[in-house]
């Protein structure tokens, strides 16, 4: 699904070049849920922006669903973002004066869907995050957790192949955090490909595998042997527990089944890193 090879990115401060990403290689399979953990300023958002076709690396290649996307025109990139990627931005990025429904509908305004269809899909996405009752409310009046759920609904509304989430649990209290993580585990069970950036170890745990970004380089993250998941998160993180919880559709059962049987995860025959790999594979 995603193959990032030898990607570097730096910023120029006067004459000095400050590296942000240094020779990053990343392979993510369809249906995988990958979390990226790292300290503030380590380049997590930069990586996600590159994955989300919002930013371009200085060097390297990026193949998205078999297509080399770095050479695409800005119009084609916009279409890619519009139809194939759902982005949950850091700090919500809702339009404060618009209501919840309008915020969620925003990406569809740039599609060719009819107004009715746009409304239907927006409501569907809001239902998925449990925000259907607040469609008419202005974004500015929502709580942090509610804002994040609306932001997730907006990322889902175009039914994307890839969901990118930048700190979706940042600045939220425990209850709100758990609600958000619950949504992500549901999405995982629907078979979506997800990359979630966080600096919160507990949140990172619910993914199939976790990567660490440090000093511009990526490596597999080790949670430490025997460190138990906190009680509330255990249910979310453990696929077997998740399978018995909510979401009664067939897709989730299948996803849960493959996830519990680690080796049967879809598409893992590629050069992509496995959850248990110590180092990110390099070709």
């Amino acid at each position: 699904m995603i193959a990032l090879q030898s990607v570097t990115k730096h910023i120029t401060d006067g004459r000095r070049k400050i590296p942000i990403l240094d020779d990053v290689n990343l392979f993510i399979d369809k249906g995988e849920f990958v979390s990226v953990i790292g300290p503030s300023g380590s380049g997590k958002s930069t990586l996600l922006n590159i994955l989300g076709l919002l930013d371009k690396p200085a060097t390297g290649s990026y193949v998205f669903a078999g297509e080399s996307v770095l050479s695409l025109s800005s119009g084609r990139l916009a279409a890619f973002r519009n139809q194939r990627i759902g982005f949950v931005f850091q700090m919500f990025m809702l339009l404060p004066r618009m209501n919840v429904l309008e915020n969620v509908e925003l990406p569809l305004l740039y599609s060719s869907l009819s107004r009715r269809e746009r409304r239907r899909r927006s409501k569907e996405a809001l239902a998925q995050v449990g925000m259907l009752e607040k469609t008419g409310q202005r974004a500015i009046h929502l709580s942090g957790g509610e804002k994040q759920r609306v932001a997730i609904a907006r990322a889902l509304v175009n039914n994307p192949e890839l969901i990118l989430a930048d700190e979706p649990t940042g600045n939220l209290d425990d209850d709100a955090k758990h609600a958000i993580l619950h949504i992500f585990s549901q999405l995982r069970r629907q078979g979506r490909t997800i990359v979630m950036v966080t600096h919160d170890v507990e949140s990172a745990r619910i993914a199939d595998r976790c990567l660490r970004i440090h000093g511009g380089r990526i490596s597999a993250y080790d949670f430490g042997v025997g460190s138990p998941a906190p009680a509330g998160l255990a249910a979310l993180a453990s696929p077997s527990a998740a399978a018995s919880a909510t979401v009664p559709d067939g897709a989730s059962d299948r996803a849960a089944a493959t996830a519990s049987d680690g080796s049967a995860a879809p598409g893992l025959t590629s050069a992509g890193a496995r959850p248990d790999d110590r180092e990110e594979a390099r070709p």
Partner: protein, 407 residues
């Protein structure tokens, strides 16, 4: 469909910036008001004048003192108009008589002479233009009488001391009472009032403050010796130019070749009016153009501010898939809506003003010609597009990554 969405997005965000949108709109409103109102006023003024000149008759030629030096009469343009040299009149009653006698195409030759004098009736007196003319005068101007009759041939032959009062003269001396049959004293001569004119408006002429009597009476009772104007009526409009040449030949030979008068045809008068109108219209459009420029800059400023403040929103829209042209359209649409709305309201207000003006000055017609509306809308659309372009391009250049980082 896409365009409709751009417009609805534009409307939405304009509502969020009501105050500024309103200010930008005011500028446009004023510009449009200025242009539409002044152009409509000029248009109505011109049609009124043309109507009156045509009412006066296209078969008229007027001889009047004054000359355009070293230039052929008949080739009027603005500079000739400005170089008319005024002279004391040398036109005479005899000129009128000679032209009538020798030029067959002339059906009426009516001299007019006048001097300021006071008219007395009992205790009342008023300043008037004591005017001498001939009985055919009322045919030339198609005068309507409010009372009595116009001067006739017997008055002229018998020097009957008959007089016809203009509407205002009558009002000043008699108020609402009848004037016919009463005696008015001018220059110490008692005149019997035989008629009163209905009020008449003809731009450039004054009928209401006069008292008309036989031409020789005025010459006999004052030191005026010359006609101020001679009005000629030509039998056929098509022959006006030829007849004008013949009249010129007759008068100039009687004046021993001295050209100290000019002949003005109704067509020419219209031509002069239209030249003046073109000049004034050009000035008006110029002023309005400057005003549109200023309001365009106003729109640009407001839109640049709005784009600045909405960098995050623009970045977000682009991040979720808005293409450059869609962002461009949204902001162009916004500038266009501001300018069109301002212009629309401006047109409405100028229409209202025009009607108001018509209410107070009944003589001026109050049409809002279609071309004025078209011009205003066209100006505002162009202004909106031209000055909306820079902010819209600025919006297009917003990079989603930078905008999302924006706090």
């Amino acid at each position: 469909m896409r365009l409709a969405r751009s417009f609805s997005a534009a409307l939405h965000s304009m509502w969020d910036y009501k105050g500024r949108t309103f200010l930008a709109l005011i500028g446009m409103l004023v510009s449009s008001l200025l242009l539409a109102f002044l152009l409509a006023l000029l248009h109505n003024f011109q049609t009124s004048i043309e109507g009156q000149v045509q009412g006066f008759g296209l078969r008229q030629i007027v001889a009047m003192p004054g000359r355009v030096l070293n230039r052929k009469i008949g080739q009027f343009d603005l500079s000739t108009l400005l170089s008319i040299t005024t002279l004391n009149s040398t036109l005479t009653y005899q000129d009128a008589v000679n032209v009538k006698k020798r030029v067959p195409g002339v059906v009426a030759a009516v001299p007019q002479t006048e001097i300021v004098a006071s008219a007395h009736y009992g205790q009342k007196s008023t300043e008037i233009l004591y005017t001498g003319t001939t009985p055919a005068f009322d045919k030339v101007f198609r005068l309507t009488l409010a009372e009595g009759r116009w001067l006739d041939q017997t008055d002229l032959q018998k020097m009957a001391q008959s007089i016809v009062l203009g509407a205002q003269t009558k009002q000043a001396l008699f108020g609402k009472a009848d004037a016919v049959g009463k005696t008015v004293v001018i220059k110490g001569v008692p005149f019997r009032v035989v008629g009163v004119l209905a009020p008449k408006e003809l731009i450039g002429f004054n009928f209401d403050e006069r008292a008309y009597t036989e031409y020789p009476m005025v010459i006999d009772t004052t030191n005026v010796r010359h006609a101020s104007m001679i009005f000629f009526t030509v039998s056929n409009h098509a022959h006006v130019d030829a007849v004008s040449g013949q009249i010129d030949a007759v008068i100039s030979s009687d004046h021993h070749g001295t050209k100290d008068y000019m002949l003005v045809k109704a067509d020419e008068a219209l031509h002069i009016v239209s030249i003046l109108m073109k000049l004034v219209t050009a000035v008006t459009v110029g002023i309005a153009g400057v005003s549109f420029l200023v309001s365009g800059i106003g729109i640009m400023n407001v839109m640049l501010l709005v784009v600045n403040e909405r960098t995050r929103e623009i970045g977000l829209r682009k991040a979720v898939g808005a293409k450059s042209y869609q962002v461009l359209l949204q902001f162009l649409a916004e500038a266009l809506i501001i300018s069109l709305a301002g212009s629309g309201i401006g047109l409405g207000v100028s229409y209202g003003l025009l009607k108001l003006l018509g209410y107070y000055f009944a003589a001026i017609s109050t049409q809002m010609p279609g071309y004025v509306v078209e011009y205003s809308l066209l100006f505002s659309i162009i202004t909106g597009l031209v000055f909306g372009l820079a902010p819209a391009l600025k919006a297009v250049r917003v990079q989603p990554v930078d905008a999302l980082r924006y706090e």
